[in-house]
């Protein structure tokens, strides 16, 4: 199982389990939309999948953190999907049609993910002291990695300039990050949870929240494949690809047989 997949069988209720499975199905769909968009550039599906499986393809660094409690499922929906939406809403207006159209579809579905995550956090934060602690602990661990999802500061971003010029990105990493922070801080306040940043403060003059320094060394370590879960995640993907080869082979064999008898 991928770290987050473990929680499907451990969801606290049948309702939560059904919701989580619907989310997983959406996420698989989002992967397919994006692979389809990539294929329009002339690469084959197998090439892209193989690149991922052999560690030659980057993926969002956020997927390399462990999910140790149920509250992590809440924090991921609220913060990780929330950060993803902030980025993806911008991408619906990007200059490459197949990518932009995939993003429109993705954004519609991600909104459910974020709201269900926030609802989990709300339920826990109104629960027993132990449940509230669990929610706080999840926020403590996911806050900074979520902010890192927007990528390095504009000054250190290797692809930003090119992407902005081609209008693939239309808003800078730092501006998107600020947008996410300004949106999320009041949501944390409503939960009665504390953002794990002693420097966090409203800046009246800027009209934005100021935050403390982000640990970019951690970010670059995870991007380089040395995060807490990088190896496990890729190993698991490879194993699933191999274990399920028989399904693909059976489907191909069935299609061949149908064609022969037709």
């Amino acid at each position: 199982m991928q770290p987050e997949g473990n929680w499907i069988t451990r969801a606290p209720s049948l309702k939560r389990k059904a919701i989580l499975m619907a989310k997983v199905q959406d996420e698989a769909g989002h992967g397919l939309y994006l692979y389809s968009a990539a294929e329009t550039l002339g690469v084959t599906r197998d090439e892209v999948v193989d690149k991922l499986h052999t560690g030659r393809h980057k993926y969002s660094s956020i997927f390399n953190y462990p999910t140790v409690t149920w509250a992590d499922i809440g924090a991921i929906g609220w913060l990780v999907d929330g950060a993803a939406i902030t980025n993806q809403v911008m991408l619906t207006r990007c200059s490459y049609g197949p990518y932009a159209r995939a993003m429109v579809r993705i954004c519609k579905e991600e909104s459910f993910h974020q709201r269900q995550g926030y609802e989990i956090m709300l339920t826990l934060s109104k629960g027993t002291p132990a449940q509230k602690d669990m929610a706080q602990d999840a926020l403590d661990r996911w806050w900074w990695p979520s902010l890192m999802m927007f990528g390095p500061p504009d000054a250190d971003s290797t692809h930003s300039e090119q992407s902005m010029e081609w209008k693939i990105k239309r808003v800078s990493n730092d501006d998107l990050r600020q947008q996410f922070i300004d949106m999320t801080v009041p949501q944390a306040e409503y939960l009665g949870l504390a953002i794990p940043d002693p420097d966090l403060a409203w800046n009246e003059a800027r009209g934005h929240y100021d935050i403390g320094p982000i640990d970019w060394d951690e970010f670059w370590e995870v991007v380089a494949g040395r995060g807490p879960m990088n190896q496990e995640r890729i190993d698991h993907k490879n194993q699933m690809w191999d274990d399920n080869a028989w399904v693909r082979e059976a489907a191909s064999a069935h299609a061949r047989k149908q064609r022969k008898t037709a």
Partner: protein
Amino acid sequence: MVYEGHGATDDTPTDGSGTSEWPLWEVFIRARRGMSHIHAGSLHAPDSETALQNARDVYTRRREGTSVWVVPSTAIAASDPHDEGLLASSDDKPYRHPTFYEIPEEVGHM
């Protein structure tokens, strides 16, 4: 120029090890009765039956449609977006539009 699209044909040998060997299908969905089918995206599948099943899973998880078509991408012939001549022929025929004709105000709405 005609874009042939990519994807395997019925004669393409496949060892089943990956999915790129499977033909690419274009998915069209009719949102409601009375509407036309609109292109929703594409997917790989070994045959039309599986393509329809996959289209349902990938593109209609929230009642997005009442009908689905899947069409092999290779069956689509497309105009060249750089060939402006093909679709520009009506530019010099403004008399095909109702606004070309002036009707006196006294006549009223027409």
